[in-house]
Subunit: 340 residues, 2 copies
């Protein structure tokens, strides 16, 4: 099954063709120093003429490196995958990786079989490091990777006691400042639409919400919180439910911009004006936040910085061999627009 085309030129053939040694060709294709300019050109010409492409398996084997990192989505529910957060993150990781010469491979782990297969793939040395996103509290994969001594960086953490390296946004602080802003705007009955609460990030945002209420001397009732799964649809439903329970709501913090967009629709359907009757704040600051009507006030997550930080941590860990875990928490920022 799947033999490679035979007769692909090898490094040795290039060397013969250019009348130099193997080492020299190797130096040239790896852009290493210590090759006379004239020689380098001769080799490059030979490569050109033969249409030589290095065999990456051989390179991996000899060099003990794969020059690739995997981005793993552990999400049995595929809907998640289609959310903008995902594509934004992939984008920023791609950018951050561009000049390292490494390939970014996305991998999907939807079942135990697939988890096992990925583990074999990773432990088999096909990737130098692993990036994990949307890790739920009970996901064992990070531990398995850590045990295998594979450089690993999580996007977000599974709990407050996470040890595996991670990059996270300051969810508590972001939510807190959002709610404080609502309070400053004179809102008194402030509800929240949370994300799925088995995600630590969602818990943190809820915590920030509660803290800010307490700080403002407002009482936070459990009935002022409704859970969503980050989709617009669930946001719509949650908002309708909240309005049902508390018709006097005048402020809402949503778990994401997408959710907030759903909430806006529900509010419109219920005949509430935004922001006059109800002020709404989203979370993420995706492009979407500027396309809603009215444009969303939201808590900006520095996606680009998150991507860069993840890659930086991963490279560091690869460098020194996964002997320590590093954590980075990035500041969030309130972006005030028209919905508050």
């Amino acid at each position: 099954m799947g033999r490679r085309r035979p007769g692909a030129p090898t490094l040795e053939e290039v060397a013969a063709h250019a009348r130099v040694g193997r080492g020299t060709v190797s130096r040239v294709i790896n852009n290493a120093a210590g090759v006379k300019d004239s020689t380098r050109r001769a080799v490059q010409q030979a490569i050109e003429e033969l249409g030589y492409v290095p065999n990456l398996a051989a390179r991996s084997l000899a060099g003990r490196r794969a020059d690739a990192v995997a981005l793993v989505m552990t999400e049995p529910d595929w809907r998640q995958f289609a959310e903008p957060f995902f594509s934004e993150i992939v984008n920023s990781l791609g950018n951050a990786l561009t000049d390292t010469g490494m390939q970014l491979l996305l991998t999907l782990v939807r079942s135990d079989t697939e988890r096992q297969r990925f583990l074999e793939y990773a432990r088999g040395g096909r990737v130098d490091g692993v990036l994990l996103m949307s890790v739920h509290a009970d996901d064992p994969l990070p531990d398995m990777l850590a045990e295998a001594r594979l450089p690993t960086v999580l996007l977000g953490r599974r709990s407050g006691e996470e040890y595996v390296s991670y990059v996270d946004a300051d969810n508590i602080g972001g939510a807190r400042s959002a709610v404080s802003h609502l309070v400053q705007r004179g809102r008194r009955v402030i509800a929240t639409i949370t994300g799925p609460l088995d995600l630590y990030a969602a818990q943190c945002r809820l915590r920030g919400y509660e803290e800010a209420l307490k700080l403002a001397g407002l009482k936070g009732e459990p009935t002022l919180a409704a859970e969503s799964d980050f989709t617009a649809d669930s946001g719509r439903r949650a908002m309708a439910e909240l309005l049902d329970r508390h018709p006097d709501i005048d402020g809402v913090l949503a778990a994401s911009d997408t959710t907030a967009a759903g909430a806006l629709e529900a509010l419109r359907a219920a005949g509430r004006r935004v922001p006059e009757d109800v002020a709404v704040i989203g979370f993420d600051d995706f492009p979407l936040a500027q396309q809603t009507e009215p444009r969303l006030t939201t808590v900006r997550q520095p996606i680009e910085e998150i991507g860069r930080a993840m890659i930086r941590l991963l490279l560091e860990e690869m460098e020194e061999g996964a002997v320590a875990w590093r954590h980075v928490i990035l500041r969030t920022e309130l972006v005030v627009r028209d919905s508050t």
Copy 2:
């Protein structure tokens, strides 16, 4: 950069530990026949005890195979990536690949640099085959892969004269039967919201629409067609535009369910009842089609079959070394629900 943990046990060490030869261990880990049961068990125990994991680079090098296929998204516009079509397809490909033991790697090609890097990766033998989705008419990647003799299968084709292997749905037939159904329902002013017309699939659906109109003796004006990019938002806009141009529209064929959902909203906003005033048909039959109000009549694309067919073609091509191109066109089916 990125040395693998040293001291990982090798096949040779396992052999020594189990007091057998290298070949025997190889046979065991590859589940090959011709090993006595008792020997097999002994080897398995040794593997267990040493925590042995095969080095995939070495396996690739010696076996001239990668046991992985890449799914490439060539889409400079990331929004596309977040559409349900993508996750559905990935899902079905994942299923189809499950029992081949191969890894599915998603790769993103957003720029020329990335295209080049991917090409090196693929030609370097890191994957045995390539699946390409959402290929636009002017995408050179399929040709480059074909030239490199890499087994390749497209999802959809770039034009009517596509030669590279592909799996496609019968877009013309699907659109035609959808419009015929509208005609049967007594509709006379039938519009269409097309997909981006640089996608051949979108052209075909438009063609099917036109053919059916002609068949029914209705005249099709260019102003009865509006272009979208498959998103709900563009569907909404296109529908509003169509209503503007032809207030007497009583039937619409949308380019996808997502687009149709947008169209439904625009119709509602314009005060039209569906299906009483205007009948709407989507395309794809995603779960979404059953969640709209009213539930969508739509043209079902057999996603699961498409995934299976793509994998089958790819495996065949890998088997025989990309000496021929194969094409499969899958039948589509009208699913009648409440919007017509």
